[in-house]
Amino acid sequence: MTYTREFRLLVLLVFVTGCITVNVYFPAAAAEQAADRIIKEVYGDKLEKMQPDTPAQPDDQSSYENLPEQGVATRLLEFLVPSAYAQEANMDISTPAINKFKASMTQRHNQLQPFYDNGAIGMDSKGLITLRDPKAVSIKDRNTVNQLVAAENQDRNALYAEIASANGHPEWENDIRNTFARRWIANAPGGWFFQDTSGSWKQK
């Protein structure tokens, strides 16, 4: 009976889609490249030619679980959730808000640099900066440095949230923060201080 056949197909479709769990994993490689581009601009290492981000390799970035029939279901999945691939290819870092934060941080960096250099300021493990050695700052500069640190951290927090939001995954904020935390340190010149995950200060 046609009715019975259609009903079975419907049940099969519900079963297939019900069995599919789509995990869109955080595109670590793209995030790292995006972080590097922003950080190098902020640090003053201007990229001579701004190239689009290289798409991250999708091999382990997305996973499809519990597929009863890999071929048919994969095609069905691609139809239903094309964004699963799209998200991992690029990390959008060109929204007006991101540009604003980047410009603000770049402008501020010249004022912060002497305090990075003399060890007064260090990079923590949460992608922020902190005044680690107050002795290295004269009294007249204390509140200026506090102000710079607070403003920088406001921008950084907003930047991480905005990148996650602009790429359609607000839940990525923490992953983006962690990526930036590593890349701020990796891109920093030798001599600057950073905090490892145990909270200890080390000099690069």
Binding site: A97, S104, T130, P134, K135, I139, R142, N146, D155
Partner: protein
């Protein structure tokens, strides 16, 4: 239990006394047993130990003279009171001593010792001691120490003990060496310089300290750590009673130099502090407060601060301390004669994570604040020619005079303010004056003078502030704008320049918790047509990246008025449509669905100039091609049927459309109209980046910056 005091005083005081008592008890036993049968008594001990205190080769000798007179000699080859207080070759000689069955006395004694850091130490002392151990006194006369002098005394009896110390010009470096081993020198401090005078008395019983009072003067001291001082000269007197919690009275002045103090508050990764630089008149302060034993409740009876040329303040607070501070009651009365210095010194450090973290302020202000149960109950704020500019360019006000008063009581109180100028972002607001009335924690405007906004006027029909001082404080405004130049407005917003005038009604504009929402709609009159802004809301208005959301309906704008005022080129006809789901972030568009086109059944004349056709190409970033090449170029104007353009902006690109589609793109201007020449303008492709589109518009306005 006053743990802080105990830590300071317990080890040395108790151990010294125990040693002293032990020696005397031994002597007393010998004396009572021998009944003066000898001319001389001696006692030698190889070593005495008590906790960290130790004495090697202790020798005590009593040489009896006439009657009760006796000479007392004590020698110790090594006396260690702590790791830093180690004395070698200690000798005490007391020629004018006396000994009775009850009392040992020594006046004009001399002591001598060697210290590895401080070298030879010698001076005069006197002591008396009841041999039953119930009372005693030792007085050390002034000796040279730490580039200055120091003297001390200790008395004790059954009621407790009292110690005094008088230091004069003691080098801070020397003082650090003395006190650091006892754990009372804060860690991570360095580069001490300068000297201090100390005159203090400490009273206690057993190991507990009950009362400390005295005075400390600093002479050009410097130190660097979390807190810091540079060439600071000051005088602080203190009186701390620790019997029932802590009763603290202190006062003094900072006469010269610089001081940075962190009160211990943490705001994110920042610990704000107050930086003071005193050059002319001294800063004076006085404090009277009580802390309970658990350090969980504070009653600040009075904190007076006088910062000459900046401000005077009196603060009274009852609060519960803990992970969160609960203010049961607080009264603050403050007069800032220089509001700018007051802001940078006393306020700004605590506003670093707020929208008021980068102000430039001038003028004066005076305020009285009452807070009860964590809520503002009364505010009396007076301004005197106050100017405030936000360093991030978000707002400013100039020449603010008058008062702003808030009460939570039912009986209303009035106040009023006037200002010479103000602005939000780059939208200038002119001089204004208003009268206010407050009751039940709400402020209403009872009279208002219309205020210029750019070149128009802002008329306010209703303005009220509710829940003043609370987190849910809300400002609500109903009013209208009339008429504002679009040129000024678009320039102020840093948008592509538009011309014409803007009028409008604003109903239900609400600002609360950083967000601005318009409940109703904003009706604008533009180019003989109507523009309705619906669902307008701005999140985080004064934040780092405000987000604006709105839907805009556009009805029958006269293109001739629009393009006639704008150097785009002349177009005749009407245009309607809208911008839906408009989303701006940091005042730049990130998403919208815009569609504008000649309305159906538009009976007006449809003509377009050659310049306008060319400029459509600029808008399209070169993606638009018109049939105006060739012979059509000899005409200056053309007829058209319908004109329309649409853009769906997302991911930084505009997905474009027109009034019809072609295989290569879309039609912006379709053929039509009564009289030739007719023209058709097509767009090729379907997408253009927003950056290129804006650059096209800027090119048009920069090429021909004429505004009629």
């Amino acid at each position: 239990m006053p743990a802080g005091f105990r830590k300071i005083s317990h080890p040395a005081g108790t151990e010294a006394r125990t040693l002293f008592q032990t020696i005397c008890a031994v002597l007393f036993w010998i004396i009572t047993q021998t009944a003066y049968a000898f001319d001389q008594l001696g006692l030698n001990l190889d070593r005495i130990e008590y906790d960290s205190l130790s004495a090697d080769n202790v020798s005590v000798a009593l040489i009896f003279g006439h009657g009760e007179s006796a000479t007392l000699r004590i020698s110790v080859t090594r006396l260690s009171l702590s790791s830093s207080l180690v004395f070698e070759q200690l000798e005490i000689n007391c020629k004018e001593g006396s000994l009775t069955a009850a009392m040992l006395r020594c006046s004009e004694g001399i002591y001598y010792a060697q210290h590895q850091d401080h070298g030879e130490i010698n001076g005069r002392l006197s002591l008396s001691y009841r041999l039953d151990g119930s009372a005693g006194e030792i007085v050390l006369d002034s000796i040279a120490a730490g580039d200055g002098t120091i003297a001390g005394n200790l008395t004790f009896n059954a009621g407790g003990w009292e110690a005094g110390i008088q230091g004069n010009k003691l080098a801070l470096t020397w003082l650090r060496k003395i006190v650091e081993p006892f754990g009372v020198w804060p860690p991570d401090y360095s580069d001490e310089r300068g000297s201090v005078d100390v005159d203090a008395r400490i009273q206690g019983r057993h190991a507990d300290v009950h009362h400390v009072q005295g005075i400390i003067r600093t002479h050009a001291i410097s130190f660097y750590g979390v807190n810091a001082a540079e060439n600071l000269s000051s005088e602080v007197s203190f009186d701390v009673n620790a019997l029932e919690g802590w009763d603290i009275k202190a006062g003094g002045n900072l006469g010269n130099g610089a001081l940075y103090v962190e009160p211990g508050i943490s705001m994110g990764n920042v610990r704000p502090g107050i930086a003071l630089e005193i050059t002319d008149q001294p800063l004076r302060f006085a404090v009277d407060m009580h802390l309970d034993r658990s350090l969980q409740q504070v009653n600040l009876h009075r904190l007076d601060i006088s910062h000459p040329g900046v401000m005077t303040a009196r603060v009274q607070v009852e609060a519960e301390l803990g992970e969160e501070i609960n203010i049961n009651r607080a009264d603050i009365a403050l007069t800032a004669t220089d509001a700018g210095k007051f802001y940078t010194t006393w306020l700004q450090p605590f506003l670093l994570n707020t929208q008021f973290n980068a102000l430039e302020i001038a003028g004066a202000l005076e305020t009285k604040v009452r807070i009860t149960a964590n809520e503002l109950r009364h505010l009396d704020l007076h301004f005197d020619d106050l100017h405030a500019y936000d360093g991030n360019g978000r707002f400013h006000i100039a020449g603010l005079d008058g008062a702003f008063r808030v009460t939570d009581e039912a009986i209303p109180i009035q106040s009023g303010m006037s200002w010479r100028g103000a602005g939000i972002y780059r939208i200038d607001i002119g001089a204004g004056k208003l009268a206010l009335e407050s009751r039940d924690q709400t402020v209403n405007i009872i009279s208002w003078e219309d205020v210029p906004v750019l070149d128009g006027m802002l008329q306010i029909d209703a303005f009220n502030i509710i829940n003043v001082g609370r987190n849910d404080m809300t400002i609500r405004i109903d009013g209208s704008l009339t008429p504002i130049s679009m040129t000024d407005f678009t320039q102020a917003m840093d948008w592509p320049i538009m011309s014409g005038q803007l009028t409008g009604a604003i109903n239900g504009l609400t600002y609360s918790q950083g967000n601005l929402v318009v409940d109703g709609q904003i009706n604008l009159g533009l180019f003989d047509g109507n523009v309705v802004v619906r669902n307008l809301r701005i999140e985080d208005l004064f934040g780092l990246a405000p987000a604006l959301y709105a839907d805009i309906d556009i009805d029958k704008l006269d293109l001739e008025l629009l393009t006639g005022h704008f150097s785009f080129g002349k177009i005749q006809g009407l245009i309607s449509g809208g911008v839906n789901k408009l989303e701006l972030k940091a005042w730049q568009p990130v998403y919208f669905e815009a569609a504008l086109a000649t309305p159906e059944n538009d009976q007006t004349r449809h003509r377009i100039s050659q310049q306008a056709v060319d400029n459509l190409g600029y808008i399209g970033g070169g993606a638009v091609s018109a049939l105006s090449s060739g012979f059509l170029r000899i005409f200056k104007e053309y007829s058209y049927g319908r004109l329309g353009i649409s853009c769906r902006l997302y991911n930084g690109s505009c997905e474009m459309g027109g009034v019809g589609d072609t295989p290569e793109g879309f039609i912006i201007v379709s053929r039509g109209g009564l009289l030739p020449p007719w023209i058709e303008v097509k767009g090729t492709g379907h997408s253009i980046t927003w950056v290129a589109l804006v650059e096209g518009l800027k090119t048009i306005s920069s090429n021909r910056p004429e505004f009629k």
